[in-house]
C-alpha cells in the first residue's frame, strides 16, 4: 500500500464543449504527503479536483484510485467516501444552523435498523473528535453548538476533523483560508499539519503562496489547464517560487497580447 499512490492521473484532459479546461495532465498523489495546488482562477484547479475525487469524468485519459481504474459511470459522493477521499469545500461543507454533532455525521449518520439516529453515540464521538483529533479548546463550544457560532477557522477544523474521523486517506481542501483573519489562518494551517501527523494525505488548494510554501511537501502548479510545475517544496525557496509564478504571469500576458 505504501508505494501505491492514492490517486494517479494519466494524460487527463477535460473540455466543456469548445472550452479546454485541462490538457494532458499526469500526476500522482502519494500517501502521507501534503500537496499544494497553485494556479490562477480558471487555471483548471477545480476541474482537476472534481476529476480526482470522481465528481466529474475526464474527456480523455484515465484516473486510478489506489491502482484501480475509476469507472465514472457509477461514481458518486458515497463511492468517493468508500474510497476514503473527502473534499472540504470552501463554504459548502457544513450546515450552519445545525449542531456540531449533526455536522460531523451528516450524510452517514449512525442509525439503527429503522433509520433512527443514535444521538448519544454521535455526541460522544463528536466530543472525542473535537478534543482529540482537531484539538478544540475554545470555551463555550460543545457538541450542541450550532456551526454558525464557530469562527471561520474552527469551521474548517470541524470539516477536516470529520474527514479524518471517517478515515479518509486523502482530504482535499478547497481554499480553506479565504476570508479568514490571520489568527484563524494559523489554526487552519495547524489542522492541515495534523492531517499529515495522522498519517494521511492532503491536497491543499490555495491562492496565498506563502501558506502553501509553509505547509506543503510538494507543489503542483497549473497554468491554463496544463501542469507547469511538480516539485518537492524543499527544492525551491519561497522567493524562487514567487519568481517562477511571476514569470508565468508575465509570459501569459505577453502571449495574450501577441494573440490579440
Amino acid at each position: 500500500m505504501a508505494d501505491q499512490p492514492i490517486v494517479r492521473l494519466k494524460n487527463v484532459g477535460k473540455s466543456y464543449g469548445p472550452v479546454v479546461s485541462l490538457r494532458d495532465v499526469s500526476l500522482e498523489i502519494g500517501s502521507n504527503e501534503i500537496v499544494g495546488l497553485i494556479g490562477d482562477n480558471g487555471a483548471g484547479k477545480s476541474t482537476l479536483i472534481k476529476i480526482m475525487t470522481g465528481v466529474e469524468s475526464p474527456t480523455s485519459g484515465e484516473v486510478f484510485i489506489r491502482g484501480e481504474r475509476v469507472d465514472f459511470s457509477n461514481y458518486s459522493v458515497k463511492r468517493a467516501h468508500e474510497l476514503r477521499i473527502e473534499t472540504v469545500y470552501q463554504t459548502s461543507s457544513l450546515g450552519i444552523k445545525q449542531p456540531l454533532w449533526r455536522n460531523f455525521f451528516v450524510g452517514r449518520p449512525l442509525t439503527n435498523f429503522l433509520g433512527f439516529i443514535k444521538v448519544r453515540e454521535q455526541k460522544r464521538i463528536s466530543e472525542q473528535i473535537m478534543r482529540e483529533t482537531i484539538g478544540f479548546r475554545s470555551a463555550g463550544i460543545d457538541v450542541d453548538t450550532p456551526v454558525g457560532r464557530l469562527s471561520g477557522g474552527e469551521r474548517q477544523g470541524v470539516a477536516i476533523g470529520r474527514a479524518m474521523h471517517f478515515d479518509s486517506d486523502l482530504i482535499v481542501l478547497d481554499e480553506p483560508t479565504v476570508a479568514l483573519a490571520l489568527s484563524e489562518v494559523e489554526k487552519v494551517l495547524n489542522f492541515i499539519r495534523s492531517i499529515k501527523e495522522n498519517g494521511r494525505s492532503c491536497i491543499y488548494i490555495e491562492h496565498n503562496i506563502h501558506h502553501v510554501h509553509a505547509v506543503c511537501d510538494r507543489l503542483i502548479v497549473l497554468d491554463r489547464g496544463q501542469l507547469v510545475l511538480d516539485c518537492e517544496t524543499k527544492s525551491m525557496s519561497y522567493t524562487e517560487l514567487v519568481d517562477f509564478l511571476r514569470d508565468l504571469h508575465f509570459r501569459d500576458d505577453q502571449e495574450t497580447k501577441i494573440a490579440s
Partner: protein
C-alpha cells in the same frame, strides 16, 4: 421533549435554558393567552367545555401543520392541503356511502392524499417550480378535480356515527374527551421523532439549511423532497377524514378554512421561515393558539370579524420575533435599530 437540561445554579442561565427547549417560549405565550381570556371571558374559559371543544376542532389543522412544518424545514412550502383535505373527505365519504366500508375507506383516502402529495413532489422537483407557486397551482388543480369528480355535491354521512371506527377516531372518551386529540398527539410525537431523531429529518434540516451542503455530503435532495410532499399529502388526507368524521359531512370547500390557520400555526410555532430548523412542539401549541384566539375574542365580546385581524397581527409579530431570535441581521428594521444603538 428535548434532552434533559443540566441544573444550573444561576437564575438567568436556567431561564435561558428553558427558552432553548423546543416550544418553551410558545407554550408560555399559550398559557398567558389562556390566563387573559380567563379574565376577559371567565364564563367560557373557566369551564372545561371550551377546552374539550378545542381538542375536538384543533386536531385536523394540527395534523396538517405537522406536515407543513417538515416542508418548511426543508425550505419549501405546501399550500395544496385544503384541496387534499377535500379530496380525502370525498373519497372517504363516497366509499362509506356506497359500500359501507370504514377502515378501508380511511386507507383509500390516505392513499389518495399521499398520491396527490407525490404528484406535488414531482412537480416541485422535476419541473423546478418554486414550491410556493407550484403548490398554489396544485391547490387549484386538485380542488377543481375534486369538484368535477364529485359533481359539486355535498355528502352527509350521519350513519357513520356509532361505527367502531367513528368511536375510535373521534369518539368521546369518558363521554367528554375527544379521541382525535390522542391521535393528534401520537402523530405529533411521531413527527417530532422523525424530524429530530431520524435520518430523514436530518436530511430535511440540511436541505433547508443549505442545499449545496446537502448535495456535497451525499443527500439525495430530490428523493427526500418527493418523500416529504408525499408525507404532507398523507397527513392532510388523514386530517380530512377526521374532519369528515367529526362533522359527518363532506363539502368541496371544506379545507379552505385551514389555509391561513395552518400556515400561521407553523410559523408562530417558531419554525424558521428561512428553512433549516423546525419546532414540532411549537407547532402543536401554535395550532391551539390560533383557535384559542378566535374563540377567546368572540367569547370576550369582540365582534367575530376582528378575529382574522388579530390572527394576522399575532402572525406577523411572532414571525418577526422568531426571525430576530434566529438572526437579527435578517430583519432590516432590527439591523437599523442595532446600528443606531451602537452609534450612541
Amino acid at each position: 421533549m428535548q434532552e434533559k437540561v443540566a441544573p444550573t445554579k444561576t437564575g438567568p442561565g436556567l431561564i435561558r435554558k428553558f427558552f432553548q427547549l423546543d416550544g418553551a417560549s410558545i407554550a408560555l405565550v399559550f398559557v398567558l393567552l389562556i390566563l387573559i381570556f380567563m379574565i376577559t371571558a371567565p364564563k367560557a374559559f373557566l369551564g372545561y367545555r371550551v377546552y374539550m371543544s378545542f381538542m375536538a376542532t384543533v386536531p385536523p389543522p394540527l395534523i396538517i401543520a405537522l406536515g407543513v412544518t417538515l416542508v418548511a424545514v426543508a425550505g419549501e412550502m405546501d399550500l395544496s392541503f385544503p384541496s387534499i383535505v377535500a379530496a380525502a373527505s370525498f373519497v372517504f365519504g363516497i366509499l362509506f356511502k356506497q359500500w359501507d366500508v370504514t377502515w378501508l375507506a380511511l386507507l383509500c383516502a390516505i392513499a389518495v392524499g399521499a398520491g396527490m402529495g407525490l404528484v406535488n413532489g414531482l412537480v416541485v422537483t422535476l419541473l423546478g417550480i418554486p414550491s410556493l407557486i407550484a403548490t398554489l397551482a396544485m391547490l387549484f388543480l386538485w380542488g377543481g378535480l375534486v369538484t368535477v369528480l364529485s359533481g359539486g355535491i355535498q355528502l352527509a354521512i350521519p350513519d357513520i356515527y356509532g361505527t367502531t371506527m367513528h368511536t375510535m377516531m373521534v369518539g368521546r372518551i369518558g363521554g367528554v374527551f375527544p379521541a382525535q386529540m390522542i391521535w393528534a398527539l401520537l402523530i405529533s410525537a411521531f413527527i417530532w421523532l422523525l424530524l429530530n431523531r431520524h435520518r430523514f429529518g436530518e436530511n430535511l434540516l440540511f436541505i433547508g439549511d443549505n442545499l449545496e451542503v446537502a448535495r456535497v455530503v451525499g443527500i439525495n435532495a430530490t428523493r427526500e423532497k418527493i418523500k416529504l410532499f408525499t408525507l404532507s399529502g398523507a397527513l392532510a388526507a388523514l386530517a380530512g377524514v377526521l374532519l369528515t368524521l367529526e362533522t359527518t359531512a363532506y363539502f368541496s370547500s371544506q379545507g379552505m378554512g385551514y389555509l391561513l390557520t395552518v400556515i400561521a400555526a407553523v410559523f408562530i410555532g417558531g419554525t424558521s421561515i428561512f428553512g433549516g430548523s423546525g419546532k414540532v412542539v411549537g407547532t402543536v401549541f401554535a395550532a391551539f393558539i390560533v383557535t384559542v384566539i378566535e374563540a377567546g375574542l368572540v367569547a370576550s365580546g369582540i365582534q367575530g370579524f376582528w378575529t382574522r385581524f388579530f390572527i394576522g397581527l399575532v402572525f406577523i409579530l411572532s414571525v418577526t420575533a422568531n426571525a430576530i431570535i434566529e438572526d437579527p441581521d435578517k430583519v432590516p428594521l432590527a439591523r437599523m435599530l442595532r446600528a443606531r444603538m451602537s452609534k450612541h
